[in-house]
């Protein structure tokens, strides 16, 4: 992908909206194109979290492995979604597995490169942190709703006179 194409892709994506040309250039300097075949592991729980991904095409399953049960998909991410926030916070290790479900193309943003820039420019660091906070909160809310087991037997569907 050319620098111009990457620049326009970042500008149009809501996650990077209103960051300004200077910061988009900083981010673009940490970016590279990656591709995963269907079924290929993007990362595994416990591995070093080396950055995050902007999915351009394809689908990725975020999974938890449970001994005796196997891999349980807790979320699927699609074109335009951001994958990975563990690169931002110590101990910089992935909390889940991620696996490409289809041929997936993404932009990988190098975490070490971005963290360095965040430390050098606290305003940039704040803008990045606030965007990832939204990602983390939205994932947390999703997980809380899943934890409530809304459609389970105890909650819904039982008339009181039943």
């Amino acid at each position: 992908m050319s620098i111009t194409a990457l620049d326009s892709l970042l500008k149009e994506h809501p996650f990077f909206a209103e960051l300004g040309d200077e910061y988009l250039e900083l981010i673009g300097g940490c970016a590279s194109n990656v591709k995963f075949a269907a079924g290929e592991q993007v990362f595994r729980e416990g591995q070093d979290a080396k950055g995050f991904y902007l999915i351009r095409y394809g689908r990725v399953a975020v999974e938890l492995f449970a001994p005796g049960t196997g891999s349980i998909t807790i979320q699927t991410l699609h074109e335009g979604d951001i994958l990975g926030w563990s690169w931002l916070l110590p101990p910089f290790r992935w909390h889940h597995d991620a696996k490409a479900l289809d041929l997936t193309r993404a932009i990988h943003f190098d975490g070490t490169c971005l963290r360095k820039k965040c430390e050098e420019d606290p305003r940039f660091g704040y803008l990045i942190m606030s965007r990832f906070s939204q990602v983390i909160v939205s994932r947390l809310q999703g997980a809380q709703l899943q934890l409530l087991d809304l459609y389970g037997k105890t909650d819904h569907g039982k008339p009181e006179n039943d």
Partner: protein
């Protein structure tokens, strides 16, 4: 936007609303591990079986008890009456264990209707969670029977897992249509599910509809509806264009007993379908 029609305008004339009519179970089909769809036929052939999408009947398992159950069949084919029931207690369990040919009692239809005609010329989004797809299905049938009157029609359905979905074959059929956008998600999945995983609200930001010209109809557990409403409003759908089907402890079904009071409304008589502005205040109120 006008309110959905109320019970007074929809109740069948000439029938004692407290008197169950005998119906025979014609067939019963298992939807998932704990949910069955019952096809019923009136024993007295002279009664009017017409209903509006969103209405419910009080279904009486003889000798056990009576529960409110939404009608899940096609309002344009009222002669084929379906109720989709989840077996969670003595009455629903008794109903789901019935054999074809057995008799049960039915009062209704009660309640108001999904305002499908208000959505003419607009985009229409159905958001269903779990067995909440059953009360919405008649509205979907109604819309499909006059598909040209609507803009984009989107069905977003969330279930606990692939095995917990209801109407799975029908969802697959609808998904094959060029004039419907059907998206299904499950809360968690193992290796046999290749679709979307995540709560139903995650489908809303990417669904193809114009939020400024959209009517949304939402049915599912109340917490799911609360979060769905927030996502719809965040997407830009006007509160007045969002309708919910509420559920409370309905007993008489005609507004006499007060068991289903929800704020200033009775769910059985004023609902179960409410526009968001009518119930918004009470959705966030605990112990209503």
């Amino acid at each position: 936007m006008e309110s959905p029609k109320t019970t007074e305008t929809l109740a069948s004339p000439g029938l004692d609303p407290m008197l169950p009519r005998p119906f025979v179970l014609k067939s019963i089909e298992q939807e998932n591990v704990d949910t069955w769809t019952l096809e019923l036929e009136a024993v007295d052939a002279d009664g009017d079986l017409a209903f509006e999408p969103g209405q419910f009947n009080m279904v009486y398992r003889l000798g056990v008890g009576e529960v409110p159950i939404s009608i899940s069949s096609d309002p344009t084919r009222p002669e084929r009456l379906l109720h989709t029931i989840r077996s969670v207690g003595a009455v629903t369990g008794g109903l789901c264990a019935m054999k074809p040919g057995e008799i049960l009692g039915l009062r209704g239809p009660f309640g108001n209707a999904w305002p499908v005609s208000l959505a003419h010329d607009s985009d229409l989004v159905f958001v269903a969670g779990g067995i909440g797809l059953a009360p919405l299905r008649p509205a979907i049938y109604q819309v499909l029977s006059e598909r040209r009157r609507y803009g984009r029609v989107v069905i977003l359905y969330g279930a606990r897992s692939a095995g917990d979905m209801i109407f799975a074959e029908e969802l697959e059929t609808w998904r094959g249509r060029f004039d419907l956008d059907v998206q299904v998600t499950v809360d968690h999945a193992t290796g046999d599910w290749f679709g979307h995983v995540g709560v139903v609200t995650t489908l809303i930001p990417r669904a193809g509809f114009d939020p400024t010209h959209t009517v949304a109809m939402v049915c599912g557990p109340e917490v799911m509806m609360r979060f769905t409403v927030r996502s719809l409003v965040d997407r830009g759908v006007a509160s007045e264009g969002i309708y919910l089907s509420m559920e409370r402890n309905m007993k008489c079904a005609v507004g006499f007993c007060g068991h289903c009071q929800f704020g200033p409304s009775f769910i059985c008589k004023d609902g179960p379908v409410f526009s968001l502005p009518r119930v918004e205040r009470w959705l966030d109120t605990r112990e209503v």
